[in-house]
C-alpha cells in the first residue's frame, strides 16, 4: 500500500505541475461548444433553448472521458516507451496489477477534477442565458463523477496497452470521435426511443452511461436512464476495461 500511495503521489505531483496545460487541453472543447451551441446558436434561434440543458451533462461526460483517457494513455506511452521508465515502478515492492491500478486511479482523479471544473465553467458561461435548467444534486454527483473517472481511466488503460503508440492518433479519430457523437452527450438516451430497437445498440458505447449518470445528477428534470441500468452499465464496462487493460499491461511489462 505504501508503494501504491507513493506512486500515486508521484503521478499526481507530476500531473499537477502540468496542471495548467492539462486544464486547457481538457476544457477548450466544452467551453467552445458551450459558446457556440449554448450561446450563439440559441440567440440565432437555430437550436432550441432546451438543447443547452441537455448538453451540459453530456459535455461533462465527454470532458471526463477525454481527461481520463489522456490521463492514463499519455503517461503510459512514456512509461512503456524505449526507455522503460515503467521498470522502476515494477521493481517497487508492489504487484504488477497494483501498478496498473495506480495508473487508473491517477487517471480517474484527473478525469473527476476535469469534470468538476467543466460544470461551473459551463454554468458561468451561460449564466446570463435563459432557459438553462441545471440543478446539480451534489450528493449524487460526486460518487457518479468518481465512477465516470474510473470508467474513463480504465478505458484509457485498455487503449494505452492494447493500441500501439503509432496508432494513437487514429485512436482519437476513429474510436473516441464516434464514441462522443453516439454517446448520448447531446441527446438523452430515453428519447432515442424513436429509433426503435436501434436505441439499444447505443448501449455498446460506454460514454452513454456516463452521459446518463451526469444527466441524472446535474439535470434531474430531463428524462434519463433508470439508475440501476446506468450503474450496471458503468460497472460492467469499468470491470471489463480494467481486466482487459491490466492483463495487457502485465504482458507488456513482464516478458
Amino acid at each position: 500500500m505504501t508503494a501504491f500511495l507513493a506512486l500515486l503521489r508521484r503521478d499526481l505531483v507530476v500531473a499537477g505541475r502540468n496542471g495548467a496545460a492539462l486544464l486547457v487541453a481538457t476544457l477548450t472543447q466544452p467551453i467552445l461548444v458551450v459558446l457556440v451551441f449554448g450561446n450563439i446558436l440559441p440567440r440565432l434561434h437555430l437550436v432550441a433553448d432546451e438543447f443547452r440543458t441537455v448538453m451540459v451533462p453530456g459535455l461533462m461526460s465527454i470532458t471526463m472521458l477525454m481527461a481520463g483517457v489522456q490521463g492514463v494513455l499519455l503517461p503510459l506511452t512514456i512509461d512503456l516507451s524505449g526507455s522503460r521508465e515503467v521498470d522502476e515502478r515494477i521493481l517497487a515492492p508492489i504487484s504488477v496489477l497494483g501498478v496498473a491500478f495506480e495508473k487508473v486511479i491517477a487517471g480517474a482523479i484527473h478525469a473527476a477534477v476535469a469534470g468538476l471544473i467543466a460544470l461551473p465553467a459551463m454554468m458561468l458561461l451561460m449564466h446570463r442565458v435563459g432557459g438553462v435548467d441545471v440543478k446539480p444534486s451534489w450528493g449524487m454527483l460526486l460518487p457518479l463523477v468518481a465512477a465516470c473517472g474510473i470508467l474513463s481511466a480504465s478505458f484509457g488503460l485498455t487503449m494505452g496497452t492494447r493500441v500501439q503508440p503509432r496508432f494513437s492518433g487514429l485512436l482519437f479519430a476513429v474510436v473516441l470521435g464516434p464514441l462522443m457523437l453516439f454517446g448520448c452527450a447531446y441527446y438523452p438516451w430515453v428519447s432515442l426511443r424513436v429509433l426503435g430497437p436501434l436505441q439499444y445498440v447505443f448501449l455498446l458505447n460506454p460514454l452513454v452511461f456516463m452521459s446518463e449518470a451526469m444527466r441524472l445528477s446535474v439535470t434531474p428534470d430531463v428524462p434519463h436512464m433508470p439508475v440501476a441500468g446506468l450503474l450496471a452499465g458503468m460497472a460492467i464496462f469499468s470491470l471489463a476495461f480494467l481486466i482487459s487493460g491490466a492483463r495487457a499491461f502485465e504482458r507488456r511489462v513482464i516478458l
Binding site: 507530476v14 505541475r17 526507455s83 521508465e85 521493481l91 516478458l255
Partner: protein, 327 residues
C-alpha cells in the same frame, strides 16, 4: 553459509510471433553467488545475459527453473525479493519528470522509508556519486556517466543486499568507464554483493571475483578470471602473422611446445602471398621462438608480426567459442 543468490536450471523461451520463431534465450543456467561477492556474466549481445538478469529481478518470467535471493523464491514472492535487490538497467530509465534528487527521494518512498531517512540517504548518495551539483537538474541534462551514477544512487536508496547492473559501462567514454569502475570498487569494499553483465573483457577481469562466460543461453565456463586464464593449454599465447606463398599452419602445429593452434584470419593479399594470423597456445621454453622462426623460413615465408602474451579473458573466450566477441 548459504549463498545469497541461487539460480537453478533457469530457462526462458520467448514466444514467437506469426513472422518470427520462438527464441530460446536461456537454456538451463545455474550458478550461485556468495554474499559480498562480485559475479560477472560475460558474453556477446544476445547470449542471454540480460534475460538471466531479468529473471532474477522478476521483470522476465522464467519458462522453467527458479531464482532464490536470500532463500526467497523470486517467482513466489517477488515483492520480498524486490526489497532485497536493486537494479541498474541497461537502458537509462530515470524518471524524466523529476529532478535527480526527487528521483532518489521518490524511489525511497516506493520502498516505504521514513522522511528523515529519505532525505539523509539522498544527500549521502548524491555526495558519494558526485552529483550534488546536479541534484536539482532533470535527467535529460546529465551526461551518460552522470545518468549511470544517478541510477546507481537510486538503486542504493533502499539499501539492497544485491546490486544488479546490466552492462553498466556500455556507451560510456573510457574516462567515465574507469570512474564507474572506481565507484563499483567502493561498493565492493563495503561488502555489497554485485552481479553485473558485460561484454567488456577488461571490465570482467577488473571487477569480478568469479565470472560465467555465457553464449547461446548456456554457461560455457565459470571460475575466477585467473583460473580461467590458467585453464588455457600451454599457458602462453604466441600471436603470429605470417606472410608466405602457402599456408604454414600445419608445420607450426607439429612443432614441440605448440599445444594448440587456432587460425584467426587468413587472406590472400595483392602480391599473391598468404597473410595468415595464427594464435598458438604454447609452452614458451626451450627455444620455441627459434623453432617457429625456422619453420616459417623453411616454408619460404616471413614473420610479419610476433607477440608473446599472457592469456587474457578474450583468449579464453575465443578458445571456448571459437570466435571473437561480437559487439
Amino acid at each position: 553459509m548459504a549463498p545469497l543468490l541461487v539460480v537453478e536450471d533457469l530457462r526462458k523461451t520467448y514466444p514467437g510471433t506469426r513472422k518470427t520463431p520462438p527464441v530460446e534465450a536461456v537454456r538451463g543456467i545455474s550458478f550461485s553467488v556468495e554474499a559480498g561477492e562480485t559475479f560477472g556474466l560475460l558474453g556477446p549481445n544476445g547470449a542471454g545475459k540480460s534475460t538471466t538478469l531479468g529473471c532474477i529481478t522478476s521483470l522476465v518470467r522464467p519458462s522453467a527453473g527458479r531464482v532464490l535471493v536470500d532463500g526467497v523464491d523470486a517467482g513466489r514472492d517477488p515483492s520480498r525479493v524486490k526489497r532485497l535487490i536493486a537494479v541498474v538497467p541497461q537502458t537509462r530509465n530515470l524518471d524524466r519528470d523529476l529532478t535527480v534528487r526527487d528521483i532518489l527521494v521518490y524511489h525511497a518512498r516506493y520502498f516505504g522509508l521514513s522522511a528523515d531517512e529519505r532525505e539523509a540517504r539522498a544527500d549521502r548518495l548524491l555526495a558519494e556519486m558526485q552529483l550534488q551539483d546536479k541534484a536539482g537538474a532533470k535527467p535529460a541534462t546529465l551526461s551518460g556517466g552522470m545518468q549511470q551514477r544517478a541510477m546507481i544512487a537510486r538503486a542504493l536508496m533502499h539499501d539492497p543486499r544485491v546490486l544488479l547492473l546490466d552492462e553498466p559501462t556500455t556507451g560510456l567514454d573510457p574516462q567515465a568507464r574507469r570512474a564507474l569502475w572506481d565507484t563499483l570498487r567502493g561498493l565492493q569494499q563495503r561488502g555489497l554483493t554485485i552481479i553485473l553483465t558485460t561484454h567488456y573483457m577488461e571490465e570482467a577481469d577488473q571487477l569480478c571475483r568469479r565470472l560465467a562466460i555465457i553464449d547461446h543461453g548456456t554457461i560455457l565456463t565459470l571460475d575466477t578470471p585467473a583460473a580461467l586464464k590458467r585453464s588455457l593449454p600451454g599457458g602462453h599465447i604466441l600471436d603470429v602473422w605470417v606472410r608466405s606463398g602457402k599456408p604454414v599452419a600445419p608445420q607450426l602445429e607439429a612443432l614441440p611446445g605448440v599445444v594448440r593452434l587456432e587460425k584467426v584470419a587468413a587472406a590472400a593479399d595483392g602480391s599473391s602471398d598468404w597473410l595468415e594470423r595464427l594464435r598458438l597456445f604454447v609452452d614458451p621454453g626451450n627455444g620455441l621462438l627459434d623453432r617457429v622462426l625456422q619453420s616459417v623460413r623453411e616454408a619460404g615465408g616471413d614473420l610479419d608480426h610476433v607477440s608473446l602474451t599472457q592469456p587474457s579473458l578474450e583468449d579464453v573466450y575465443i578458445h571456448l567459442t571459437g570466435k571473437e566477441l561480437r559487439e
